[in-house]
Symmetry: C2
Amino acid sequence: MDTIKLFCPATIANVSCGFDVLGLCLDFGDEMTITKSSHTGIRITEVIGADLPLETKHNVAGVAGLALLKKLNLNFGFEISIRKNIKAGSGIGSSAASAAGAVFGINALCGYPLSKKELFYYAMQGEALASGTAHADNVSPALLGGFTLIRSYEPLDIISIPSPQELYVTVIHPQIELKTKDARSVLKENISLKKATIQCGNLGGLISGLYTGDYKLIGRSLHDELVEPVRSILIPHFAELKQAAADSGALGSGISGSGPSVFALSRGIETAQRTANAMSAILTPTDIPFETHVSAINPKGIQLLS
Amino acid sequence: MDTIKLFCPATIANVSCGFDVLGLCLDFGDEMTITKSSHTGIRITEVIGADLPLETKHNVAGVAGLALLKKLNLNFGFEISIRKNIKAGSGIGSSAASAAGAVFGINALCGYPLSKKELFYYAMQGEALASGTAHADNVSPALLGGFTLIRSYEPLDIISIPSPQELYVTVIHPQIELKTKDARSVLKENISLKKATIQCGNLGGLISGLYTGDYKLIGRSLHDELVEPVRSILIPHFAELKQAAADSGALGSGISGSGPSVFALSRGIETAQRTANAMSAILTPTDIPFETHVSAINPKGIQLLS
């Protein structure tokens, strides 16, 4: 096998009360084609659908791939072509899809010398290029599918969390520019112990609800005490989008990753679609371009297409 | 039925990474006898095994019972006799056992007008007398058994979390005086967002491990980033007790409630017993009196004995 084609899914990091520890995988995403080459190193041959750098060292897939190549010590290289369906800067894991895709694909073309969990580290090097920190909350669900918990960074310890079948995700992406670095800079370095405890209660409730399929508990737990109050000021009409989700019967909602996308979780695809319509109705009268997605929880993560 | 006898179990609050949100129920505890009386109000007739006040308003069981009586609006009252096996101030839920026992027993003698979850509030009033705050992390596992999560205080939302069958608890109680109020006063009001995130990762890991019966994950998750580092300085030989638990093969260990008791979780009763022996060996050469307990996770909580 010298060429593979991959589906590289979008992902939601944080998931409200799971700031910096939770992520989930969506059922739409990019396509990536990776081909073995007699030239060592990595060449990004094209990026279709987005204005992203082709120079390997400035491309997220390139940097992640190079990190893995250094480990594998190969006498051949790879050419990567990417069809981006996930908009860069949307807050639904565009860079993670490319970083995770590159390392998954290279590993596959080499006969799977590393496990998925061993690939996290290399994919995270792509994230470091994109956002300044080698975070794992998007690459984990992109590689493993479903919900993932980062139990620890030192050492890296990622846990898959199950989720009930009728859980659906609505995403609305207001197309404003909001860099991850800027969204990080508004965060307070210190918080009250009391708020941390409230966050822990909700995170525990969300994980419990995911294990037991208790949709109401999932809904009650979707509150972010730490980050949403400060970060949401960067997202236009955030309070109205949240209210629209609640009025549509969504279980709960929050900021996707570091924004600007806003997500909601619902029981059943009809409620998720109704939520998408209601959120759209908030942004339609404004001059902010936007797009919406309705998605199941994708249990598989990155997949070979051929 | 005019008289009931109850088993009122000891409990462990916090459970390391679950500060102020997690609790678990032990299989040893107090006995309480409650008898209907034609006199309204509550009379504490005796407390065997502990030097605790008999005056209703200064007795934890009395205060919790009075709070419930106010709700039930009865034309009769109750006499309560308590045999304390749980030492006051030990950090394994002595006051919660009495507070929860009183409200459970009174509710039972009235034909169960309230659910167990409706009793939390009244039991918490007893905790307020004992420690200055109406906390729920001991009364919840005392009433429900097993592991409990306080998802939220406002509104009160308590979740039962399952645990694997081979999970055992070791408790060592160094008999020094350490008041809950003092143990609270050493806590920092503010913490770093980074530490809160580490705590969330571990709490999520612990809950996930409890659902899946992944003992190793339970062990990896038993780290308290927020409270143990400051509170443990009040507990003599804490680091050595922790090391002894680790050396004995315990999954992890930490401060029980606000101390001074130290707990460890182990897979299997043999490891839990070996851990008790190793912890005992740390305190034996000192002049600190102590006692140890080895317990299964008690899935039932408070039980009628007759």
